[in-house]
Symmetry: D3
Subunit: 137 residues, 6 copies
């Protein structure tokens, strides 16, 4: 049960309603996810979060499906079930197949395993690796 209450469209202030309208138009949806309805109890955070989300998840150098996969990966690492489902749904809407989902989860699993191995063995970043991460610059 979320803290507080859902701010439904019909009872929303103009400020909140403008955000809701932009969400539905941008995402080609006719409904507002519960996340936004709960967040709308704090209109400044609603507006700021939506604008940041629109900017970061919108068109750019990374493929939109890949952005959703990255979002799911972080949500798994953080154990946020709502976020996992929300962005799996986003990824599906943008073209993620079952095969891609299975691969995504396998990569996330491996990343968590090798992160732990590196941390436990205390492997340090060496110069060669750091230069490569910098793009050879």
């Amino acid at each position: 049960m979320p803290i507080g209450k859902f701010v439904e469209y019909g009872e929303a202030s103009d400020e909140v309603r403008a955000v809701y309208d932009d969400i539905m138009e941008t995402r080609k949806l006719r409904w507002i996810a519960d996340f936004w309805k709960v967040l709308a109890q704090d209109p400044a955070t609603l507006k700021r979060t939506w604008e940041s989300m629109k900017q970061t998840m919108g068109p750019g150098a990374i493929d939109p499906v890949a952005k959703e996969l990255i979002f799911v990966a972080v949500s798994v690492a953080n154990g946020c079930e709502y976020c996992i489902n929300s962005h799996m749904a986003g990824a599906r809407a943008k073209g993620m197949t079952d095969e891609m989902l299975a691969e995504l989860i396998a990569v996330v699993g491996m990343a968590n395993e090798t992160n732990a191995l590196v941390t436990a063995w205390q492997v340090e970043v060496d110069e060669r690796l750091r230069r490569a991460a910098q793009g050879g610059k």
Copy 2:
């Protein structure tokens, strides 16, 4: 400083050397990263980890660059500096640009912020979202 010692190619057992050879051939590299050299103190884990890595990060339904971006995202969430650099280097080698890196980091940041917002407000997965995450099935 890592725990134990690096197992260098010249002193490696046949079992370890076979893994090293496969790593270099698969990745078109002439050197072995410290992670593998440290892991080689435990040859069973070296072999198993490399084979899993090769399988999960290899060709499939998800674009290879996207897989590296996902790996970096998880490594950031886990705070594993070596892993971040190692897979940023992997992503660069497969074509990641500076623009893609900046977008990746922005998405990871947003994911961590909204994960926290969801957890704090205790938003629950509703049926509509769950069905969408299942692919409408």
Copy 3:
């Protein structure tokens, strides 16, 4: 469903009952939260945990409401739903308003986002910052 069973007041040992009495007296409550009842299966940990909690959350240099907010913030970062609710309740009892709660969550969200940005960009602590963190000493 918790592991094991609840140790109810009526069936508790004298050692456990003494802790329960102290909890109710300190917190001006007439009931014992489930956390303590489950922990009471391990009386040494119950006693130690309660005494530590009483000491750290009691009067001091930091305002009691702020201590509860800090506790909620950590519980969000760790994804512990019971702990979030338990200390939101504590914060409410000590005067937290809805406005404060919304601000708390916004700050926690921002902290998680910028933590990820710092980790991904690998920003290092510089001397000026470290001296400031040390209080200029």
Copy 4:
């Protein structure tokens, strides 16, 4: 070593410089922390992050020092050393004493311990607690 390079004031674009000016004016500082200089490689994220930070950390219902303490608490839970130091410095600037710092750390330690106890014993949120967290509404 951070990824990429620091964008110094003298070489910054007008957009970045406007953010830098606002940071220095808002915080009454004559220098820009490395976090912002690194972030400035991605001007959209710099601007968005600063505006969000200004909004969430600015005047409101929660005391400004308490906001910094909350920020430190989350940064400890996430293991972000730069962030810990950065917001300890912020807390010092706003009046945090050594006694407050020691109490903060003690509370964060207790929160992490009891979060783990709750998770391991699998204590569930009961109705009484949930109503109290909702403010009795």
Copy 5:
């Protein structure tokens, strides 16, 4: 609700069935846990994960019960409820008593507390400690 569907024994491919048979034979069980049934949607990950699990959790230098306790400890730190229960069950099957469980949870609690204290106070690994961790080598 898990993503996708359970792959039941009767409908499994030969490859999946071979893994199921090996799990039941190795663990002396007549049923397959849901984890494996869900994972079986991705047969390569099922096979790889089971083989890794069998190798790491099998006989070796560390007592099998202790390995399960370690697994539970990590699962608590990661907040994975299924994993906590799954490996508590494994530990019970191998001889874990209620006293051991209570001690395990107490140790995990302390570890999380002192981890946070170390991170917040920013205590660094000194040479004496590092040598001792290396086994005096």
Copy 6:
């Protein structure tokens, strides 16, 4: 660099010195680890933490080496380098071999991987598993 300063034995208050003496006697050591010296800036937390540590890590139903391994496992999951080294040293002192260390790390790696797989696939605890975790009670 730790926050604040080390409280050396020679300058410690009687309260702090009593804790230091107990640490050295209990652990059969002639020196005090930096963790305790830094913590001693906050004598109440020093005393409380040491007494909790002595109680939880002391003789009991779980083998002392296994307790140290559990402590290392949690520290890896939390990415606390000092804690990893400190308790690896403790484990060595109590008899951990290189083989045990390698197995520990392999188990911790697997636990992190399967935790992520479970979280991503959203596998739920079923009744059979829950009863087994409860000890069949």
